[in-house]
């Protein structure tokens, strides 16, 4: 049975090949001394050198990371509050209304979010640049954090809170000693999702970025529009490696959380 490749396997293999070809194509030609994405001439690290010598690009990478970390942090705090707010609301209709509002930004196409935020920031007199990009990244990351945290809250038995209060815990104690430890896996998942949303976003940022400020995806877009330059390939290789590190990091964090919180993790 092992020797023969059956057709279902073949189908899966073809899907995986198609999924990964473009990625490895990019990585492969980042080492091409020929300067094009065809006809591999020889191995070179020239393009990587170019990336590391490009101060403007490095500043953009730094900006992107700062925006991602800050927006993930702030949206996680806001999202946890949102999840708690939804959790504590007793009326069913209010709960459903809040959830509907929460999901609007998740299902909206990026152009709509971008265009409406552009109008919003212009009307509010916020200068397009760092602040507007940060605010919009926080705004579109909040709902996903809520969606990651809320199931954990609902999984938690309400008797835990009652027990804590019976034993004389204050509201603050209940929050920090009972609720937050229980929903930590959800908070971490939400934080990582917010991080990836921010790193991945192009369309919304493109609308609200203005002239002076740029993030990585906006920069890649403007470079790709000018045609092929292998420093973009080198850059994408570096991003790919960074992404894999993030995935591994996320995997270990979630594994550890599952072990620490035996009752929290379902699987």
């Amino acid at each position: 049975m092992k020797r023969k490749i059956k057709w279902p396997h073949l189908y899966l293999i073809i899907v995986f090949i198609i999924l990964y070809t473009p990625i490895f194509y990019l990585l492969f030609y980042s080492f091409n001394s020929g300067g094009t994405m065809h006809d591999f001439e020889g191995f070179t690290l020239e393009w990587y050198k170019e990336v590391f010598q490009d101060t403007r690009l490095l500043i953009i990478v730094l900006n992107t990371l700062i925006i991602a970390l800050l927006s993930a942090l702030i949206s996680t705090i806001l999202g946890v509050m949102g999840a708690l707010a939804i959790y504590y609301v007793k009326k069913r209709q209010v709960k459903n209304a809040l959830l509907t509002f929460n999901n609007v930004l998740i299902v909206s196409p990026d152009v709509i979010i971008g265009a409406s935020f552009l109008i919003l920031f212009t009307m509010a007199g916020i200068k397009l640049g760092f602040t507007s990009v940060l605010l919009s990244h926080i705004a579109f990351s909040v709902p996903i954090v809520v969606l990651m945290v809320l199931p954990k809250l609902q999984e938690m038995s309400p008797t835990l809170i009652d027990a804590a209060r019976d034993l004389g815990a204050s509201q603050w104690d209940v929050l920090t000693k009972v609720i937050l430890p229980f929903i930590t896996p959800g908070i971490f998942a939400g934080f990582f999702m917010a991080l990836t949303y921010s790193l991945d976003d192009f369309a919304v940022t493109f609308f609200v970025t203005g002239n002076g400020f740029s993030t990585l995806s906006v920069e890649i877009y403007s470079r790709a529009r000018q045609g092929i330059s292998l420093s973009v390939n080198a850059l994408s290789t570096l991003i790919f490696l960074f992404t894999i590190l993030l995935v591994i990091g996320y995997y270990f964090v979630s594994q550890r959380n599952n072990r620490l919180n035996g009752m929290g993790g379902r699987k």
Binding site: L12, Y25, V104, V111, L120, I220, V232
Partner: protein, 266 residues
């Protein structure tokens, strides 16, 4: 005292809803009634119902439909076969991994693959078909979009297939249903929610892919999203852009209600 503390959580969250969910939608609606000089008018809506814009909207829907249909055709068997593999979690992770890579980088890779001397043409050469212009065509736009959306279609279908009780399939087979009948009458109806969620996750973004139409389709394909971007960032006609955005929001609401759970209706 208790209720006071509870309401505290609601304050920042409600503020977020008002500022970034409700206000933007109203602002879009508000701006759609102004022309480029800032006069209050319905001209934008009149302009939307001219053949130029209607045709664009139609072709935008047609492309989004094609992208969704092809993604579904490829994703359903993939998800189905994935549930049958031994190391499911690992394979699933491998499906998710490409979604973590920036969409623009993937589009950029296709600039190389579909280019005149790229991989695709090299393969066509060796088969004997000869090189063709692939980049900047409708085909390349649909192909790249399907490529980007496939994981988002696979995941919900995979999840619904995983939740399917296998004894139902066994029962159907025991009662004499053929493999195809079992699939058509048992498996597919029970995973319809996953299919709907997948279609929703693909169709709505596919309406607004302006970066792909610019990079891959070379402005040959104009979607509603491209038009919004064009009006807001190039021609600065925010009123018209907002009008198109209003129609995109309406389309979105319609699709959401069509693909939403209709458990009560069966």
């Amino acid at each position: 005292m208790r209720s006071n503390v509870r309401n505290l959580y609601l304050i920042p969250y409600a503020l977020w809803i008002v500022l970034f969910v409700v206000a933007p939608i109203f602002l879009i609606l508000y701006y759609s009634f102004f022309d480029i000089e800032g006069n209050l008018t319905l001209a934008n809506y009149k302009k939307f119902f001219t053949p130029v814009y209607l045709k664009m909207a139609l072709s935008s829907f047609w492309y989004a439909f094609l992208i969704t249909a092809f993604s579904l055709l490829i994703a359903y068997p993939t998800a189905y076969l994935l549930t049958k593999t031994k190391h499911k979690q690992l394979w699933l992770l491998l499906i998710i991994l490409p979604t973590w890579i920036n969409l623009l980088l993937k589009a950029y890779a296709f600039l190389g693959i579909f280019g005149t001397y790229g991989l695709a043409n090299a393969i066509l050469e060796t088969i004997g078909i000869g090189s063709k212009q692939i980049l900047f065509t409708d085909f390349s736009f649909v192909f790249v979009s399907v490529y980007i959306f496939i994981p988002f279609m696979i995941l919900p279908i995979y999840n619904s297939l995983e939740q399917l009780n296998p004894s139902l399939v066994d029962a159907a087979r025991d009662l004499g249903a053929s493999a195809w009948t079992t699939f058509r009458r048992v498996v597919f109806p029970l995973t319809l929610d996953g299919v709907k969620a997948g279609c929703q996750a693909v169709f709505i973004p596919a309406l607004s892919l302006f970066m792909l139409t610019r990079l891959i389709a070379g402005n040959r394909v104009i979607t509603l999203g491209t038009a919004v971007e064009q009006h807001f960032l190039v021609t600065q006609d925010w009123g018209m852009g907002a009008t198109i955005a209003v129609f995109l929001i309406i389309a979105m609401a319609v699709i959401m209600s069509l693909t939403g759970n209709r458990r009560g209706k069966v």
